[in-house]
Symmetry: C2
Subunit: 418 residues, 2 copies
Amino acid sequence: MDIANYMQQLGRQARDASRATARASTAAKNTALLTMAAAIRERRAELLAANAADVAEARANGLDAAMIDRLTLTEKGVEAMAMGVEQVAALPDPIGEITDMKRRPSGIQVGKMRVPLGVVGIIYEARPNVTADAAALCLKSGNAAILRGGKEALRANQAIAACVRAGLTAGGLPATAVQVVETTDREAVSQLVAMPEYVDVIVPRGGKGLIERVSRDARVPVIKHLDGNCHVYVDDFADATKALRILENAKTQRLGTCNTAESLLIARAVAVSLAPTLCAMLTAKGVEIRGCAETMSLVPQAVAATDDDYYTEYLAAIISVKIVAGVDEAIAHINKYSSAHTEAIVTENYTHAMRFLREVDSASVMVNASTRFADGFEFGLGAEIGISTDKFHARGPVGLEGLTSQKWIVLGDGEVRA
Amino acid sequence: MDIANYMQQLGRQARDASRATARASTAAKNTALLTMAAAIRERRAELLAANAADVAEARANGLDAAMIDRLTLTEKGVEAMAMGVEQVAALPDPIGEITDMKRRPSGIQVGKMRVPLGVVGIIYEARPNVTADAAALCLKSGNAAILRGGKEALRANQAIAACVRAGLTAGGLPATAVQVVETTDREAVSQLVAMPEYVDVIVPRGGKGLIERVSRDARVPVIKHLDGNCHVYVDDFADATKALRILENAKTQRLGTCNTAESLLIARAVAVSLAPTLCAMLTAKGVEIRGCAETMSLVPQAVAATDDDYYTEYLAAIISVKIVAGVDEAIAHINKYSSAHTEAIVTENYTHAMRFLREVDSASVMVNASTRFADGFEFGLGAEIGISTDKFHARGPVGLEGLTSQKWIVLGDGEVRA
């Protein structure tokens, strides 16, 4: 198979199909999505059989347990996939929204119209449910999509793709509006990220290795998420009860998510009273404390943190702790060490809260709330394409809007420029 | 001079300074801008002398007349530069704007705060006024800037940079908030566009060659403008008077601007009546007509257009003309041949107007108005960083907002995730 040729063909077809998805009515897109969801439910047995074959091959190839877990579809998983597609159908259509129409002295009226980006390339790993999820999000936002899933999940992805096509047909949309890459050759990814004439944006979903590789090779914009080295700063004006509750939730509710706190800063004025209590809670939950010298003097169970610790996203039962002079040092520390994902201050002081909100240069900045809220659903986006740690185009949790752009529109009555 | 080291140092300094510009008050930024403008006026003689030395050297080096013209500063040019900076001071401050705060079922309140991008790199050619203009726009939007002007303009750029520094000092801002690259080595540009740790976005301002080179080498996002192959489509429901007036303005008001029309499409139903009149007007204005076979049969003075003509931004007294079946073919033609800059339909038909607005995939789409309106000032942005032909982040005329991003903010009262 000539991979370059094959990918060019998918790209051309996607670009053509994107004209149709861009002008598709909300009703047509929703019909496609609801039919897609129904097809997923109806063909449940087929999907599970395809997935079982994928899993058997993965086991034979010696894939690790975590990978097998991500790969495996259950009856419940198939139902969740269908419901996810229905939820996207229920979201308001972002396309065509006209805003900010203002009349200018020249007589023209100028404003913006929300439009699709065009063609979205999604690159993901073992989870087959991403196929349905990504297809639904791209279609609802008026884009065509090229989906490149993990090679382990090829059979399930193809079975899901057939459901997607059934939906597209029902909505009167071209079958090429969502295409699943049928080759497992790695060269297909290199091609996909380097066709600016056919692909407008790439969304990689998966581990850091995948995302770094895609970002390095991409010749089109990438909506991406790297580390989540999130901080909780307990200010000298913190309410002790809120601090304890927020830290517990931010660090220990789930250890492996990107919005989990990895670092705790405590203002010196309250360190003597609060550091032992906060750290005792963490220790009781099995979290290892790596602290600065001051922390170690207050918290006997703490071990010494290196400078590297403060840069680290552990995704594990470890936290770095530092005693800081106050809000200034906290902000400076975060802006130096953080991955700019999510940070929270616990304080009752208005000015400290406002300064933290304004000066911390991260995608999500919170006052008196757990970092775990940094999430498309918790933020009310209804769906999440991913979380961006970039500043350009989309920042933080990205919903359907992240897959759109705005063009300028002008309504005139024969005006010309003077 | 070790260019890599030097640029890294500028980058580090800019990143540090960007923390100060990000939190600077509106008053501090405006004081800096107004002092900068005053310094430009006061040091007029100095600026003109520095520029005269640049021009003398450029002449000695045999630079062409157009380049000398762009390089030359006049008394009027210096005054315009000062007034431009004052106009930026008068614009509303985009930074800190809080929007869309919504209460969620969890109890938190979530919304967005507008923030600077961080460090902006501007790469430009001979025009020294860009130094003042770019410094003002970056500062007002809370960014630090690294400015790399043309080597022909180094003396004037350094003199303007001194005025900028006087302003920064008056506003209590670090002098490194706006830095002018002091070396004319080309390697400095290669470094500037490839320091994602210090530079958040690059804005190239100049010819297509510069922009293509920068885009190819950049490892950070680029706000860029390539071709302006703009279309006027005269629909079968066009008002003949509006069509004539709009085409005349769009094509002949200025031949060399990016929003000048380069291609005329006419619906077949009105071609017999309108093509001769429209083309007679163009011919009378000295514009060469390159048409399809049908055009040639209706317009004796037309010569044959090649397929390449329809892709071409002439920036000259030439236009390509094609007779099309109607709005469908016009949209398809534009989406194929256009550079996605600006397109206009002339029509009295509501549905054709709406379809053109929605389906034409260009940065600015107009009904019954001249393409020449595609401009930051005409659109009411108050200032223009540039015009983007990309869809990502900023599209079409880009004002101060294009140099900003939005972060999520969360206001809580001790909420944790369930």
